[in-house]
Assembly symmetry: C2
Homo-oligomer: 371 residues x 2
């Protein structure tokens, strides 16, 4: 080890990248001002990034009011690489391919036959590989979201009941099987990473992202299994807790209160407003203290919550939490899984020094270029 001489540079580099990421088009001087670093320092940090085409020149800025040289606006080269995000369920998946500014290049979804978590992901990746490679943007990583408790840092699946998977060392099992790094995380956490990515310019740092997921889709049988997942974001990072189980609600709380929210009508399964109100009243009785204790900047409601926005707003009316209901769709988890990979790539390595926390390194990604 003991290469702490380069540590300061790496920290500054990641700060520079963070700024480039959240400001599409920022000059070197503006970066130096925001980071309180010397102009020449930024020049020295940015130029290698330009040479490696991780950063590109976006445009010439307008000249300052009082005159002077026009700034050269820089930004992340979104076509440096793409990330595959996968939302893996027991019998279905959805996947998205995003570039480095978070734009979706392609999306997929479908059913699958589960045959072990590593094998299933591998098969899925193989089936998509040709299409992925047809883009001019080379893939640099894969993020996977699964329902279950996952230690993302260690690449360890602690509990994934629906996959019948317990205490499984995914990282070791996947070793060498993929040409790019693969990170795995809980699905609710992935959604939270996705929101962090979407709100990166708003500097939303502390929030709760609550999703209401149906485990059985509307079909012949009623969608009985309701899952409430909370993604906890503190100081701009998803918080995992001491046992990677942060955001989990007690099982008895979830199961006992669901009632028969869904009723069958001519046009399929619909929400019964009366049962819904009973359920939500009961649920938020428990959620409100959580909101208070976390004191979040914002509470984001996703998944099925968008279908009962008014009811939620009514319940939280007297509380003065800032709440929002973003547009949702069924690739949110997959998008979030890709965002998770990206956030970890751009994450500043400040704290990883003495802890055993292992962050993704650009060197892992650049290795491909050096071959």
């Amino acid at each position: 080890m003991a290469d702490s001489k380069q540590f300061q540079r790496i920290v500054n580099l990641s700060h520079v990248l963070q700024l480039l990421r959240i400001n599409e088009g920022i000059s070197r001087i503006e970066i130096s001002r925001q980071l309180s670093l010397d102009r020449s320092t930024i020049t020295n940090l940015v130029n290698p990034l330009l040479e490696n085409s991780i950063v590109k020149v976006v445009s010439e800025g307008i000249a300052p009011a009082k005159g002077g040289r026009r700034p050269v606006l820089l930004g992340i080269n979104e076509n440096f690489g793409s990330i595959l995000g996968i939302d893996l369920q027991i019998s279905s998946y959805s996947a998205v391919l995003v570039n480095l500014n978070g734009s979706i290049l392609q999306e997929w979804s479908g059913n699958l036959v589960y045959s072990g978590i590593v094998e299933t992901i591998e098969r899925l990746y193989e089936s998509l590989k040709d299409e992925i490679d047809s883009f001019s943007v080379p893939i640099i990583g894969i993020g996977v979201g699964i329902p279950g408790i996952v230690d993302t840092e260690k690449g360890f699946i602690l509990k994934a009941t629906s996959f019948d998977c317990h205490n499984f060392n995914f990282e070791i099992a996947a070793e060498g099987l993929f040409s790019v790094p693969v990170l795995i995380d809980n699905d609710a956490n992935c959604c939270a990473w996705g929101q962090l990515e979407k709100n990166k310019d708003k500097r939303l740092q502390d929030f709760l992202n609550i999703i209401w997921k149906l485990h059985r889709q509307e079909g012949e049988s009623a969608p009985v299994e309701i899952e409430i997942g909370i993604g906890v974001v503190l100081k701009g990072e998803v918080y995992y807790g001491s046992g990677s189980a942060a955001g989990e609600l007690p099982e008895d709380l979830l199961s006992r209160e669901q009632g028969n929210i869904y009723i069958k009508t001519e046009d399929g399964w619909n929400i019964d407003p009366v049962a819904l109100k009973v359920y939500l009243d009961s649920l938020f009785q428990y959620l409100k203290p959580i909101f208070s204790v976390f004191d979040p900047q914002e509470i984001i409601f996703g998944g099925q919550f968008t279908h009962c926005r008014e009811a939620v707003e009514a319940i939280l009316e007297e509380c003065d939490f800032s709440i929002s209901f973003p547009e949702v769709n069924n690739r949110d988890t997959a998008y979030g899984a890709a965002s998770m990979f990206m956030e970890k790539l751009f994450q500043s390595p400040e704290l990883q020094k003495d802890s055993d926390k292992k962050t993704l390194q650009w060197s892992d990604v650049l290795r491909r270029y050096n071959d």
Copy 2:
């Protein structure tokens, strides 16, 4: 600004100090190993600390098993300075003077007549000054804990109902009135800082510290006002939330469920076990989801909870949270206020770079020595 050249050194210095603090007696080489820094780097960092007598030689260690020079064990010089911690209530206070290893040098408590927060603290400090100065250990700072919502970083009291104090800039009001820095924080958070200090060698990093406080002490009238305060500690630091209100419970939740827990018997006010069970059952119904969502390493119960340990244990039996009931006494908050000051002094300044978070600096403390 722009003295980021020294930043690395400051970070390393604070890491060294942290290690010295949690290991009473550690050699330079061991520090270098734990921080993955070169041996000579530690020598260069430690020697100025020794010269300033912030660090002292504790003892000669035993020689290594395979032979070799005996290590020189170093530790924080606990007599470098003392910190006054104050638990301020509307009509009473308690205070402790602690040295830098957290030992209590002196303690006080009594009633007081409130006359504005700054003035009250100032009067209290003046009345204790002679006794404080009688110790050979010079005072280097004051920490104050109050019931209310406080932005400690900014030194701003957002809401302290019992003091009738709202949106009050304590830092500016106290400017120049004290010979040492004064930091102010919420009382429940202070208790959490105190637990962090007490458990520093166990490396307890993520926990909830829940205290049950009585606002009116047992006396003529029943102690009706029960206050539950939660201190949230994440990654070795008290978490304040987006509005400094983290750890607060909704007011309606607290007030509606108290019942008549205290009943009058011949020997004063006592707890009614039946009413207690009803109250605790109701309370923990709301706390359990909070515990789940935080996924803490440990949950510490303080204050009046020690009087109903069995009841709490029974309620949490089926959950597998690690819980503990440390010895409590009525100077815990004052001790915690002092710990808060100390933790902030030793806190590693890693994150304070680009944020507006202002950490206490050793230079603030050393200023006294330079005069």
